[in-house]
Amino acid sequence: MKQFFSGLTAAVPIAGGYIPVAITYGLIVRSGGLSVLDAGLSSVIIFAGAAQFLAAGMFFSGAGVLQIAVSGWLLNLRHLLMSSVIAEHIERSVPLRVRSALAFGVTDEVFGVASWRVASGGTLPPRFLAGLEVGAYASWVGGTVVGAAAGNVLPPSVRIAMGMALYALFAALLAGQIREAPESRRLRVILAALTAGGFNWGLRRMAGFDPGLAFPLAMIGSALIFTAFPDAGNPGDTDEGEENR
């Protein structure tokens, strides 16, 4: 129980970041014509901030279910790496059903806190991780419902400012990616982000592509280019070389 509460406490900074963003999400879903229940249920079901914004935007622009699911899935592919980092620190004796439940709550922010704890020499007991995830989940779902139910009482200037919270969160996560990348790969990460943004901008604003199509194209296109791009300062880098790191 002590571990669970220590996890909950560690979720406080996550909640501070989630609540304004979740309120904004609730507002967007509501202003698109869906109900408070629709907004709340989507957060209960999915629990993936960025993918939910993407889904809402595509849904309201008339995209199909499959198109939204594929884009959201591509966007969440990054969690494969995050989950494998966390899973490595969960003891083998933990039963499969507990592992399966813990996997549900691995978001960028949960990963951020958990990996920071591991990096600073701490352990990752399942109860701690459960507390962390429950705290994050509760603030995400709670914020969504509050935003959907009462967000429209906020003055327009505050709503506009909270809308920026999402992009600030994306920019901060991107800066975190840049900071965490090994020096030899840093430039590649920066260029991949700029290129994807540029592609998406061009496809949407100049070529008139639908957001649901432009987003995966821009993302995969840029990622493929920079997968082929060798590491800076290590031009002879091959896959074999990388295996020996």
Partner: protein
């Protein structure tokens, strides 16, 4: 409740959950090919780049958006906590919209 919306949410859950759960189910599969690993390393940055542009630039002036995003990136690179950075961005946008 809008059934098509809930169906969308369930479809998203399926893809998202499988990606999150795979390493928990098979902890030994961390030995993915280096090429795939390299692809997965740049995917998050590419996704975030395409999430920011062009949609971040639309509601408020381009200059205000660019300034807010630049401050956000700089503060994070300096190691400032995520929550604090997001709250500063909200306050900065509000001040920009209200006073400029």
């Amino acid at each position: 409740v809008n059934p098509r919306w809930i169906l969308t949410a369930l479809a998203l859950l399926t893809g998202t959950y499988i990606v999150r759960a795979l390493p928990f189910w098979a902890p030994d599969m961390s030995s993915v090919s280096p090429r795939i690993r390299r692809f997965l390393e740049v995917v998050p940055a590419a996704a975030l780049g395409a999430l920011i542009a062009p949609d971040a630039f639309g509601t408020v002036s381009v200059y205000l958006t660019a300034a807010i995003l630049a401050v956000t990136v700089l503060l994070t690179l300096r190691g400032i906590n995520l929550t604090v950075v997001v709250l500063i961005a909200i306050a900065g946008t509000w001040a920009g919209v209200t006073f400029l």
